[in-house]
């Protein structure tokens, strides 16, 4: 049994380091060009170098997404770019456009290529095609089921990567240009305006020219394509048994709170299963932890059947998110029990807070006293990035995170 890679998004250098500290075996990032997340934090070459060096120290890998569908001229300079990535030590590029695949293969030989989910690879012959073209890995379409993955594994040698957590395109990725038509923003070149998440009127036309609303419900439910998010935390054994090589978390735009939490949970589940498959038990605490950072309801997408209305964002939803990220531990002095915290959101005396850290450590604590960086007592920590000291009775570590439940 092969232990799959846990692959996390990293919108910034800070997120890259956090994702790796919290258990990611690999991260994917974007450069300043050729990607699909024009609004995510993106890396310049110096930041990439630093990211690669950091990853190397942890035995982790860094992939760069260059998954736009180019129009004429967009490809200018990409050969140099790919060569730079290769020379920096980037482990692979994630590409969907055959134009870029060919340029990469010919102008930056030695730089492995992963086919992006934008190419909607959904059958084993497609995987074999790209394998025969020299690609190292294929990221599957989100529409592929677990049974289909099992069959693919038996029929192809190429590495298989699949999404396990996060938001989902409602379309076959790459086959949606709603945004191009509705907002003049090219979904396949980083401009997606998420038109699928909008609300629409739905009509039928019983006779030419007669429009009749189909909207119904009490109160009236508008039409939307918007889907709930994906979570495969209950199904890690299926993914491992079926030979998936890389388990991917979505979300280069997500916060360090989100990335650290999700990596932490899946790291636990993957390690627990691979260490002892026979005695593996799913832990409810893992799923509870994911709910703390969830942004929508969670589901299993297409893995176990075509999604019904239960996986659409219709009707009333539960309150999300449930927790607020309030601080990050900078230092902990084991002799005094004093932790220095960098504030990320307002907190104060009387708050029930939770610390968590790599290795799925948790510590619940009620703030009785706190001090500023000059050791003056304070009641609240209102200022972003201010340093706050707390006396705690459990060992904390730098890069542990602090959160609190939001009121109901």
């Amino acid at each position: 049994m092969k232990k799959p890679e846990l692959l996390a998004p990293a919108g910034t250098l800070e997120k890259l380091k956090i994702a790796i500290r919290y258990g990611a075996d690999a991260v994917y990032i974007g450069g300043n060009q050729y990607g699909l997340r024009s609004r995510a934090g993106n890396f310049n070459l110096d930041e990439m170098r630093e990211g690669v060096a950091f990853a190397k120290a942890f035995g982790a890998k860094v992939y760069v997404a260059a998954n736009m569908v180019t129009h004429e001229g967009d490809e200018v300079g990409v050969g140099d770019y790919f060569r730079s990535l290769r020379d920096i030590g980037i482990h692979a590029v994630i590409v969907s456009d055959p134009a870029l695949i060919e340029i990469c293969a010919t102008e930056a030989p030695g730089l492995p290529i992963h086919l992006s989910t934008q190419a909607s690879a959904a059958n084993y012959e497609t995987l074999n095609f790209w394998h025969s073209e020299g690609l190292e890995r294929v990221v599957l379409a989100r529409e592929v089921s677990m049974d289909e993955i099992a069959e693919m594994r038996k029929n192809t040698e190429v590495e298989i990567e699949t999404f396990i957590h996060g938001a989902m395109c409602i379309s076959y990725s790459g086959r949606c240009v709603l945004s191009n038509y509705m907002s003049a923003r090219d979904a396949n070149r980083g401009g997606c305006s998420q038109s699928c998440r909008w609300k629409y009127d739905l009509y039928e036309m019983p006779k030419p020219g007669v429009r009749q609303s189909v909207l119904a419900g009490e109160p009236v439910e508008e039409f939307s394509m918007s889907a709930v998010d994906l979570s495969m935390i209950r199904h890690i054994p299926d993914l491992v048994k079926n030979g998936v090589d890389s388990l991917k978390i979505e979300g280069r735009m997500k916060s360090i709170h989100y990335v650290s939490t999700v990596c932490n949970v899946y790291r636990q589940a993957i390690d627990a299963y691979c260490a002892d498959p026979e005695h593996y038990e799913f832990q409810q605490a893992w799923e509870d932890e994911l709910w703390k950072v969830a942004q929508r309801e969670l589901s299993t997408g297409f893995y176990y059947g075509v999604p019904t209305e239960d996986q659409q964002l219709f009707g009333k939803r539960r309150k999300i998110p449930a927790y607020s990220f309030i601080g990050q531990v900078l230092e902990y002095d084991s002799t005094t029990g004093i932790a220095a915290i960098e504030q990320r959101n307002n907190f104060g005396v009387g708050d029930e807070v939770e610390f968590y850290g790599p290795g799925f450590t948790h510590y619940h604590y009620r703030i009785e006293e706190m001090w500023d960086e000059n050791n003056q007592p304070i009641d609240r920590a209102p200022n972003p990035m201010m340093i706050v000291k707390l006396k705690v009775d459990a060992p904390l570590k730098p890069f542990d995170m602090m959160r609190k439940a939001l009121p109901d």
Partner: protein, 304 residues
């Protein structure tokens, strides 16, 4: 020589299209082809191919679906049957189909048709090196971009000059999911359209079939006023899509395109001819649907 390629919804319509000057009939079975006006069995494709060949027309079979394992497994037998029938070409959008043709040595000429993904000459050249004999341009291209592409490729490019544009394909049953949620189940998931709430004039057709849910642009494409410029730029394979323009109306519009072709080839294409044909197309076009140039007349930097 300008070629007209048009979808067909029945044997009768196919014959009428061939007789009115359509060079290539585009048909297929919905298990392998996308968004077709009708699904044709192999037997029907065989009969239609005979009919077409007797009239000097060609047949292209749509094999352009995004395929999952179940379909790719059936594809070798399907392609062998198409080869036996003697169809002239197929359209392909899933690289798995190219792989099947390679490994099973099924040598049917194929046109690369991956809809939104055909936006750069290098993509087309990639597929040409791997056997493609043509490509269908994405609808999301400006004329300037199209001309730049045309100057760099060695195979004919198909351009949609009349018909609907798909702008979204989901594997989810998006219409049914809504109808189930609001407890108004329907047999048919066709004939619906969406409007943006703040723009009640928008009309995005949406329907479901075995390939998922499909959404179409508000405006159907009509490039009749630009046919002369297209021909001049070397864009001489004009595609017509009849999914929302049915029966005789579609045949009559094909007739107008054939007229345009005659005028261009005889050197008699004028602004007046263009304007007059355009008026006639507008008269024929279904009243409940609007026409436009899509991205053709935009500038590249109109789109972010």
């Amino acid at each position: 020589m300008i070629q007209i390629i048009a979808t067909a919804e029945s044997a009768e319509q196919a014959q009428a299209l061939a007789e009115t000057g359509v060079n290539t009939l585009l048909v297929g079975e919905d298990e392998f082809g996308l968004r077709l006006p009708a699904s044709f069995t192999l037997e029907e494709i065989g009969a239609l191919t005979n009919m077409a060949h007797h009239r000097g027309a060609k047949v292209c079979v749509a094999v352009n679906a995004v395929m999952h394992n179940d379909r790719i497994r059936k594809l070798p037998a399907y392609l062998l049957a198409l080869r036996k029938i003697g169809v002239d070409a197929i359209s392909v959008g899933d690289p798995g189909a190219v792989q099947v043709m390679r490994t099973h040595q099924i040598d049917i000429p194929y046109v690369y048709d991956a809809h939104t993904l055909v936006t750069n000459a290098r993509q087309i050249n990639f597929w040409t090196k791997r056997g493609a004999v043509g490509a269908v341009l994405a609808r999301e291209l400006t004329f300037e971009e199209i001309k730049a592409i045309a100057a760099q490729v060695s195979v004919p490019l198909e351009i949609l000059v009349y018909g609907a544009t798909c702008i979204h394909q989901s594997k989810r049953p998006l219409v049914d999911n809504y109808l189930q949620f609001t407890e108004q189940p329907r047999e048919s998931k066709k004939g619906f359209f969406l409007s943006e709430p703040k723009q009640p004039d928008t009309h995005y057709s949406i329907y479901e079939d075995r390939n998922g849910t499909h959404i179409f642009a508000t405006d159907d494409v009509n490039l009749v006023p630009y046919l002369g410029e297209l021909a001049e730029a070397g864009l001489r394979v004009w595609k017509m899509d009849g999914i929302f323009t049915r029966g005789e109306t579609f045949v009559n519009i094909a007739g107008l395109l054939a007229e345009a072709r005659r005028a261009i080839e005889a050197g008699q294409w004028t602004a007046e001819t263009a304007a007059s044909l355009n008026e006639r197309i507008k008269d024929l076009h279904p009243k409940e649907r609007s026409l436009g140039e899509g991205f053709f007349t935009k500038q590249a930097d109109d789109v972010q």
